[in-house]
């Protein structure tokens, strides 16, 4: 299995430009997540999809950010216009199962992370 694939691995752009990050989840995984990691804020969930439908986008910082999942094997995260404070590592992750709830425990089964896209906005 190739794992979660992200492209590009590195992106350097100038403030105001549009940036598109791409993700291919593991085949057969119905859940896809976009995270952002910075030194100041750590790892934060931006949005997640189930069966290509956005379920929770409350972590998307502002309207400049948008995410789509046109089919089960592809998702994009777009920033338009980009700003220097968007500089971060963006991770895509996928999971084969959704959240679980048992007596006394809840959470997710394993989320598989991609290698990330390191974005620098100048």
């Amino acid at each position: 299995d190739a794992g979660v694939i992200q492209s590009p691995r590195h992106e350097v752009t100038e403030m105001g430009q549009e940036v598109t990050l791409r993700c291919k989840p593991i085949s057969g995984h119905d859940y896809l997540f976009w995270y952002r990691q910075t030194m100041m804020r750590g790892l934060e969930l931006l949005i997640y999809f189930n069966n290509n439908v956005p379920i929770d986008d409350s972590g998307m910082p502002e309207d400049r950010f948008s995410a789509k999942m046109p089919n089960a094997s592809f998702s994009t995260l777009k920033i338009q216009p980009s700003e220097p404070r968007d500089s971060a590592v963006y991770f895509c992750a996928s999971s084969s199962t959704g959240p679980y709830i048992t007596s006394g425990a809840s959470g997710w089964e394993t989320q598989y992370f991609g290698p990330g896209t390191r974005l620098l906005v100048l």
Partner: protein
């Protein structure tokens, strides 16, 4: 707001030494996960603990979930350079299933 504070923030030790890293919160978590992230890669799940007081072992790594489910620890015995990385704890926020990640412990094991 639920937070997961990890300590220490940085740790540099010699090969063969033992170490413990901590993950603490003032809130109860129904479960906690530990991840290791190597430079240039995404986090990789190591373990999930779900029961207060639970202890899980993964080779030289021992994970413990606090009785009150507000804290967890990771103990590494005889650390090796391959253990170098960023260790993150994470848990589902109350009322939603979104994972809250801890502040992280950056470990470096010197040969």
């Amino acid at each position: 707001t639920q937070l997961l504070e990890q300590s220490p923030q940085f740790l540099s030790i010699q090969e063969g030494e033992n170490l413990t890293v901590y993950c603490n919160s003032s809130s109860v978590f129904s479960s906690l996960q530990w991840y290791r992230q190597e430079p240039g890669e995404g986090p990789v799940l190591l373990v999930t603990v779900v029961t207060g007081g639970e202890v899980k072992k993964l080779k030289r790594l021992t994970f413990q979930f606090g009785d009150a489910r507000k804290d967890s620890s990771l103990h590494i015995t005889a650390a090796q350079p391959g253990d170098t990385g960023l260790y993150l704890c994470a848990g589902p926020s109350r009322g939603t299933y979104k994972y809250i990640f801890g502040t992280g412990t950056r470990l470096k094991v010197l040969a």
